[in-house]
Symmetry: C2
Subunit: 404 residues, 2 copies
């Protein structure tokens, strides 16, 4: 497996583009993105578990119920959620792009991201649809990635090439996500493309299995969005033998998919609203995987842990506290905690009690941009990793008046 | 019922005091508090559900297992939690105060609050125990209240007088709590005293029932502390007929207790770390009380709602979002939301979709110090209230480097 350039355009037969159509006032910010596959592709998606769901999610779900799609359209600046005409507008977006691309309107994955509860005017999208299709190109993954950004400060894109029985396949993805991030059974907006030849059923299986250990283990602020979605399109143009069951080829695909998703998870957590640090909590020795997950996520979600990390303060008591209220089965007298970064690793708690450590070395470790919180439970084989970020003044600033 | 002065000393036979003994470096901050009843009192307490529990909680639990106590000792500046010698130190605190007061050491409620995981040196407590007892007085509830404060900016104290079958009873309480506040089946530190004559069993029943709608509905930051406790001492000196079963007298007592606890809840939420506003979420029309509670608490806990309230931004979409991910049974198409304060009330969402409203009036309402978020679900009779506060720069500052 090798990291390559090209994002969602890396795989054969995929083009992408992005434009500013006028949903946002800021004309320098792209607000409409398109991904197109020359061939109809197997499609799978997972959605937010929030009971308040964005209208585009319902439309997408219905469109890809047959397991296929050919294009993804997504706007930023408006979530098209909690609007009386939401479904109608989302369907109209599909109609417009299908007409322009000359594909079936039920082969469109549609998504929106931005403010909740403000009607989405279709006019700028209608007026821009020609330019959007004209913007499609093999080198334009970054334009699409930019078109879906909201409070994101960094573009999130990756691609890898991998090998299935001697046939080179590629898989790539783009993501947006910075606030209202606490995915549960689904996630922020992530669009993945691959030229791997795989059935819709196996594609769906791969995605559902992968997100449990990737996007569902990310939290920026504990708020599960109404519009989260991860979708994958697989157009089969790599020419490998069709993957229609589990086995070596499926494992290879899962591994490549996981490389893409873990990378994007780290991007999203590290670019959390206002974040200055990426936090990675590694839990091992838990009773089982489920308990490990509960603990890793509880630590990563604690406002007090997040604020301590912002201050580079080795306040491990807050980690014990978050483990204690997590609801997981745990023997608190066996918990070991250490902090690590590129500057080294320092144990701070052994068997549930503090140990002497150098505050200076701890500070040096915690001043880095990527911090590992290592929790060992001595209780079994369960392990898990969760990703989050620190809580900063900037988060409060961004969210104190997001709409203006 | 009437609000009166005196805090935990309002009830007959209770004295209180507080001193600086040297646990904290800042000599102007009291760090040791004492409450004493001239007569042995019925005692009840509820404790944190965090699996990591402060050592003092275990000692208190064992001490009041027989239903009686006569004194409360509490230090601030150190939580005596996650320390190898925690139990020993907490028991030593009981020994010292019992000797000085000439009471049984098992009649002491002991508590600690402050940093987790730093050994608590008994020396300053030992040296100060004489001064602590000498500080006891009928007018000194405020000294005790000050002795238990950590990041609190405001002293939290109340007392009420009430009538049981023509006999005047009094009940009063003090509280501390500002961060790491998300009580679950128990709460932050609250000490309540009453001269009402009530059995330990009924006192315990009253407390357990009350906290479900009071302290368990408060959240400052979603972090359930390791040292939360509410305790009540009832010494019977008011002389009312012993309350040993449910009935009119018990209801009168419950009402007085609830007045004290709701007041202290609002104090704690409004003085949340860094808070500029008290948030009160009133949910009605839920399927049942449990669903109402889940929703009220989800709204109050949302970082995004909290940050929006800091910015006085009527971003109701985030309230819908928090309702949607709460896990409660709810028909999102029937949700109405309005904001209110002393400046008035403004509806912003009707049947799950936005309605036109004046941003100027909404701003004016949201600029107040006490904000009501009113959620109507049109789904049944369930209702609930939860209390929280806004998320501010100051919260991040306080918690970015709490230990230094």
């Amino acid at each position: 497996m090798e990291i390559i350039k090209g994002g969602v355009c890396a795989a054969k037969g995929f083009l992408a583009g992005g434009i500013h159509c006028g949903i946002r006032k800021n004309k320098t910010k792209k607000d409409l993105a398109l991904i197109y596959s020359e061939k109809k592709a197997a499609a799978a998606a997972v959605y937010t578990t929030n009971k308040v769901k964005g209208a585009p999610l319902s439309v997408t779900k219905s469109n890809i119920a047959n397991g296929y799609a050919q294009a993804v359209i997504c706007n930023s600046g408006n979530a098209n959620t909690c609007n009386a005409d939401g479904i109608e507008v989302a369907e109209k977006m599909c109609d417009l792009i299908a007409n322009e691309l000359k594909i079936e309107k039920t082969d469109v994955v549609v998504a929106s991201t931005g403010v909740i509860g403000q009607p989405l005017d279709i006019t700028p999208i209608k007026n821009g649809i020609g330019s959007l299709v004209a913007s499609l190109g093999k080198d334009n993954s970054k334009d699409a990635a930019e078109g879906i950004m909201t409070t994101d400060t960094r573009l999130k894109e990756i691609a890898v090439s991998f090998d299935i029985n001697g046939v080179e396949c590629k898989i790539g993805g783009i993501a947006k996500g910075s606030g209202m991030i606490h995915p549960n059974m689904a996630t922020m907006l992530v669009f993945i493309t691959t030229d791997c030849n795989i059935t819709p059923a196996m594609l769906s299986k791969a995605l559902s299995s992968d997100i449990k250990n990737t996007f569902n283990m990310v939290s920026v602020d504990g708020d599960t969005s109404t519009n989260d979605m991860v979708s994958v399109l697989a157009n089969g143009m790599a020419g490998n033998d069709l993957i229609d069951s589990e086995g070596e080829a499926f494992s290879q695909f899962m591994k490549a998919l996981n490389t893409v998703t873990v990378y994007l998870c780290r991007c999203i957590a590290g670019d959390g609203e206002g974040a200055t640090k990426l936090l990675e909590c590694e839990v091992s020795g838990a009773k089982d995987e489920n308990n490990a997950k509960i603990i890793a996520k509880s630590v990563i979600c604690s406002s007090l842990v997040k604020a301590a990390m912002f201050g580079s303060d080795a306040n491990w008591g807050r980690i014990l506290c978050a483990i204690g209220y997590s609801g997981a089965e745990v023997d608190v007298n066996k918990v070991d905690v250490s902090f690590k970064s590129s500057k080294g690793e320092i144990p701070v708690c052994k068997n549930g009690a503090g140990i002497e450590f150098s505050e200076e070395i701890a500070k040096e470790i915690l001043l880095e941009k990527e911090i590992g919180i290592v929790v060992k439970l001595g209780d079994g084989d369960g392990k898990s990793v969760a990703w989050g970020c620190d809580l900063t003044y900037e988060y409060v600033k961004i969210n104190g008046d997001y709409r203006t």
